[in-house]
């Protein structure tokens, strides 16, 4: 699945909200930082038009450099790759003053995007963690094709009923068609809340075991506070449970990717 099928060397992990506000951007930041902490070279990449991932890494809200500016001005990948104060690399989506965005229909832009990322995808032993757009678009389709696995983020709350059915009927098949492994990840879990426990039971009833990531990210006030401080949770409060959850998630991702590549070698 990894290198051979997608003709690229890096491992690409997509993260997408099943419904708005489920916490995909925080997961991308947390996961990338945790991977770096266990000595893997990971870069967080934002493909969301609200361009908020960069705020997790301490970028000024007024800064607008990023993928969009690179596509329109022709700047190189290196120009839009930033590093947080603690040394974590990330690529923001960026903004343009003319309110222009990546065209949702034009495949031209996708080709440009592919060219832009080609050198990064060719690098071995890299983890690229992408914050995927929630709504279907050419950009999302392109991104799915790049991903080895996609984590679909869901919060245990009543909204999940709609989100889950849309995921099962529409999103998951599209991800699988693009040869990406589709997983659901529970975020913001607070087992002390009865409604949450019921929601988790509901999810377990709906989703086959293999599709649910066997760990979850706990609800933790440290996450929004870290965001407000514009730094990763690990930097803001290393003892926070959320930081440990991201560590566990990073280990799981590394293990999962390794398992898959072994399986592919055996198939071959």
């Amino acid at each position: 699945m990894t290198a051979s099928k997608k003709s690229k060397a890096a491992t690409v992990v997509g993260v997408q909200n099943v419904f708005g506000g489920a916490g995909a951007t925080s997961i991308v930041a947390g996961l990338a930082v945790a991977l770096c902490a266990i000595e893997h070279r990971a870069i967080a990449i934002d493909l969301n038009r609200d361009n908020s991932l960069c705020l997790h890494f301490g970028m000024e809200p007024t800064e607008n450099q990023g993928i969009i500016s690179a596509l329109h001005n022709g700047s190189a990948l290196l120009d839009i790759t930033f590093e947080s104060r603690s040394g974590y690399p990330f690529i923001p989506m960026g903004m343009t003053s003319e309110e222009r965005h990546i065209s949702e229909t034009a495949e031209d832009d996708m080709d440009k995007l592919a060219d832009l990322f080609a050198p990064l995808f060719a690098k071995q032993e890299r983890f690229l963690i992408i914050d995927l757009p929630t709504e279907p678009s050419a950009l999302q389709r392109w991104a799915y094709r790049q991903c080895d696995l996609v984590l679909n983020i869901v919060r245990p709350e009543p909204r999940l009923i709609r989100g889950l059915s849309r995921y099962l009927v529409d999103t998951a098949p599209r991800q699988v068609d693009a040869e990406a492994h589709s997983y659901l990840l529970l975020n913001g879990v607070a087992p002390q809340v009865v409604l949450q426990r019921d929601s988790m039971d509901f999810i377990r009833g709906q989703i086959a075991d293999g599709r649910l990531v066997p760990l979850m990210v706990n609800s933790d006030q440290h996450v929004p506070e870290a965001f407000a401080q514009r730094c990763p949770v690990r930097t803001y409060q290393p003892k926070a449970q959320a930081a440990r959850d991201f560590d566990a998630l990073a280990l799981w991702v590394v293990h999962e990717v390794a398992e898959r590549s072994v399986a592919i070698v055996e198939d071959a």
Binding site: P191, Q192, P214, M216, N218, S219, Q241
Partner: protein
């Protein structure tokens, strides 16, 4: 030079002039002789923090703070290291040796032309060494000898072996030949001691049995003084005790020669084929707080709900029990009378229920959720199986562990039985039923008329009856339930009196050596289990024996002292070496003596009574789950031992007197008897030490663990924390200092349960540093069951409870037993005469000082107490 000045200044910052001088001296010596690479480290290291390699070889000497006796310690240790201590051959050292050999080979090849003579000799040495190493490593590997396994070869080998053994045992020898033969035996035993192969153990057992039998043969044929009637009587008394000890030794070897170590068997995939199980929880007078967790954990077991029936069998007929049973929806049974105690209670329930299998838990034995899934598989693998027993595991300290503060450090009293003996029994299809944590098949159980009621140890007798009908039994050594140990020494003794009496009753009423249905192995295992409990009288005889000579000047072993030493010492040494090898992981050397001595006096009378009048005696219930509000010395319990101690002390003084005034040809005899009586005094001291009951103030025992959890506070901040202990009422957690909590604050503890999470609300009751004490606040049965699943009834709750890989080292064990003995005397003396406490303090500390001079194994952990001298 300036460097030395700088180091001097640095040392002087924290040390006095003399200490700084010593410190630097040791530092330089170390750098020069032990570890030339240390110089850099010494320069960089802070004073007092350097991690010396000298510390490895001299674990009891603190080179940064040398004390008055340290020179003696250093000299003794160095002598011991040079002349006695051998390096253990481990995998690591073997690998290193191999690598070193390879390097040496390469080096020698380069030197080939220059020094061919040396090369030849090197080659020869290497060949010889590798040959010897191979022989040791292949020892006991029987895979290549399958061709020997035919009936005729077996019979002829047995006959030849029997002849050789008979010859070896009976051959008369003079002192020199005897010494040479025993030295060869001893050397062989020491040679194979560290070989981790079954054959090595078998060889050691054979040597031990040979030496002991030879000793006994010599004792019977040559050492009885028939001329003086009192001597004859005393002599025969000692001889009978020795014959008993020899019997137990040999039976014990056979019983544990090849433990089966059964693994878990698979259940059918389809849960519809799983059988129905009735769980019986009998109770008589235990409080509900003890019984509640057991019932909740039984409810939480992973088994199809429609096939699991739980019954609370209440012989106390208490209304709160009935209410509780109703509220959690389990069966509640009472009966018109309490005939036959627990056995009668179980039999009553047996008649009223219909499940295919019966599982029995004592009311304080909390099962893990996996109990049934792990244990039921064997009933499918073996259709004749009628009984499966699992170990009794205790999460609270027994009186020995509590009063000697050795909880979870040392193997406890029960570990030998559940760790080794039951696995050994299983090999002979003779696993016993132990009354709780076991599964019984209904059909066979009804065939033997239910649980046996003829004796007070209904469990062992029931198993015996099942075995007589040809059913098999199994033992699965995975702790799948845990309970409370007896809380005080007197309660412990009470329980053991019941066991001893019951076993003696069975021995009389349904003797396993005769009657139908048992195979030889089963007869041996049962006989050993029952005879073992008759050890009261022999042990007292052994305690008193040296006094016969010291006080009465009676020669109860009528032989020259040198011959006694040559026969008796090898017998003792071999049995210690062999037992240390076979049981060392489950019971350390010399501890058995202490455990048995404590009970000896108390079980002597009931077992003798039961042997002669087996129908006497009643069932006494073991008290559990209580408190000991203050420490106290149990004079009542230790009275017999104090009398024995006084007798031994008088004997000891007489011995000294005889040494000073007696004829010179008696010196060796007196010395031997003095040694014997000193050993008895040490062991008796241990027995006395246990009688001081340490206080226990918590009503529920905490289980220590190290498990990651998370803690959520009122503001929604979640912290990664660690669960350090729990009980059914509260938990101790290690919480990062970043998480500020105050007393009375509400927190949520989040614990994983398989793939999901559970939250438990708690109140903070204390905080000290990063340790926070909490009490659970959720009352609902649902919450309590979730709590059980997250704590006591986790499948892995009792896995890795104590590090069992620690091997027994007789010399360390002996040091521990001496320490315990000394503590016993100290406590007894200060309880008797509190005013003289300061004097006892001084004597005690002197004793500890002397003990601290003994050599240590390199790298051994040393009790910090010693470092004060």
């Amino acid at each position: 030079m300036s460097l030395i000045v700088e180091q001097w200044r640095q040392a002087r910052r924290t040390l006095t002039r003399t200490r700084a001088c010593m410190h630097l001296l040791v530092l330089y010596l170390e750098a020069i002789f032990v570890h030339p690479g240390m110089q850099g480290k010494a320069r960089a290291g802070k004073v007092g923090e350097s991690d010396f390699t000298l510390r490895f070889w001299f674990p009891h000497v603190d080179f940064t703070r040398l004390r008055f006796f340290d020179p003696i310690r250093i000299i003794l240790q160095a002598l011991w290291l040079i002349f006695f201590q051998q390096e253990k051959q481990t995998e690591q050292s073997l690998r290193e040796a191999r690598a070193a050999k390879a390097a040496a080979k390469k080096h020698r090849r380069q030197q080939l032309v220059k020094a061919s003579k040396r090369w030849v000799s090197g080659q020869f040495n290497r060949f010889a060494t590798s040959k010897a190493t191979r022989v040791i490593n292949q020892f006991g590997d029987i895979t290549g000898y399958a061709w020997l396994d035919t009936a005729s070869i077996r019979i002829s080998l047995t006959v030849i072996a029997a002849l050789v053994v008979a010859f070896t045992i009976t051959l008369p020898m003079d002192a020199n030949s005897q010494a040479v033969m025993l030295l060869i035996f001893w050397a062989t035993a020491l040679w194979v001691r560290d070989v981790q192969k079954r054959g090595a153990l078998i060889l050691m057992v054979v040597l031990s049995v040979l030496v002991s039998s030879r000793y006994l043969y010599w004792r019977v044929t040559q050492t009885i003084n028939w001329d003086v009637p009192t001597d004859t009587a005393l002599s025969l008394l000692l001889l009978s005790a020795e014959i008993y000890a020899w019997t137990i030794l040999v039976l014990g070897y056979i019983q544990t020669i090849w433990p089966l170590k059964r693994k878990v068997a698979q259940l059918p995939e389809d849960t519809r084929q799983w059988p129905s199980v009735d769980i019986f929880i009998p109770s008589y007078n235990e409080p509900l707080s003890v019984v509640r967790p057991t019932v909740l954990a039984a409810l939480a077991m992973d088994w199809p709900v429609d096939k699991l029936n739980i019954y609370l069998l209440d012989d106390g007929r208490r209304s709160d029990f009935a209410e509780f049973a109703k509220s959690v929806n389990v069966g509640y049974m009472v009966r018109p009378d309490n005939s036959h105690a627990k056995a009668g209670n179980l039999n009553h329930a047996l008649k009223k229920t219909t499940g295919d299998f019966i599982t029995i838990f004592d009311c304080d034995h909390i099962p893990t959720r996996s109990f049934l899934q792990l244990s039921m598989g064997w009933f499918y693998a073996d259709k004749d199986l009628a009984l499966l027993q699992t170990p009794h595991h205790f999460f609270s300290p027994d009186p020995f562990e509590k009063n000697l503060t050795i909880f979870r450090n040392k193997p406890n009293e029960g570990e030998l039985f559940y760790g080794l003996i039951q696995d050994g029994n299983d090999m002979w299809n003779a696993s016993f039923f132990c009354g709780s944590c076991a599964v019984l098949k209904r059909g066979p159980l009804e065939k033997v008329g239910g649980i046996a009621v003829e004796t007070v140890t209904e469990d062992a007798h029931t198993a015996l009856k099942l075995h007589r009908l040809g059913y098999s039994s199994a033992y699965l050594n995975i702790p799948q339930a845990a309970g409370l140990a007896t809380e005080s020494l007197s309660a412990h003794i009470g329980q053991r009196i019941r066991w001893a009496r019951g076993m003696a009753q069975i021995f009389r009423l349904d003797n396993p050596l005769v009657g139908r249905g048992l195979n030889l192995g089963q007869r041996i295992c049962y006989a050993n289990a029952m005879l073992y409990f008759l050890n009261g009288l022999p042990r007292i005889i052994f305690m008193m024996a040296p006094l016969a000579f010291l006080l009465l000047h009676s020669y109860i072993v009528f032989a020259p002292a040198i011959m006694i030493a040559l026969y008796a010492l090898p017998h003792i040494v071999h049995s210690y070496l062999t037992n240390s090898k076979s049981q060392g992981r489950y019971r350390h050397s010399f501890w058995a003596e202490m455990y048995e001595t404590v009970l000896a006096w108390y079980i002597m009378r009931p077992t003798l009574v039961a042997l002669f009048a087996p129908k006497h005696g009643k069932f006494n219930v073991t008290a559990k789950g209580g408190q000991t509000p203050t420490s106290y010395f149990d004079w009542e319990v230790s009275k017999p031992y104090i009398i024995l101690v006084l007798l031994c002390l008088i004997g000891f003084l007489f011995g000294i007197w005889r040494l000073l005034t007696g004829p010179s040809d008696e010196y060796l005899t007196v010395a031997l008897n003095l040694l014997w009586v000193s050993y008895n005094l040490i062991i008796l001291g241990g027995a006395v030490a246990v009688a001081e009951e340490s206080k226990q103030v918590r009503t529920s025992n905490r289980v220590n663990v190290e498990r990651p959890i998370s803690v959520v506070n009122a503001t929604g901040h979640s912290f990664a924390a660690e669960l350090v202990d729990y009980s059914d009422r509260g938990a101790g957690i290690r919480l990062p200092l970043e998480c500020a909590v105050s007393e009375g604050e509400e927190l949520h503890l989040i614990m994983a349960e398989g793939p999901s999470m559970n939250a438990f609300s708690v109140t903070v009751v204390s905080r000290r540093g990063d340790l926070v004490g909490t009490l659970f606040t959720s009352d609902s049965h649902e919450a309590q069951m979730a709590l059980m699943r997250a704590t006591f009834s986790r499948a892995d709750a009792w896995v890795g409870w104590r590090d069992e890989t620690v091997v027994d080292r007789p010399i360390s064990s002996f040091r521990e037993v001496i320490a315990i003995g000394a503590r016993g005397y100290y406590r007894m003396a200060s309880n008797l005469m509190p005013k003289l406490q300061p004097i006892f303090d001084v004597i005690y500390r002197m004793g500890r000082g002397v003990r601290s001079l003994l050599p240590y194994f390199p790298g051994e952990k040393v009790d910090n107490e010693f470092l004060r001298f």
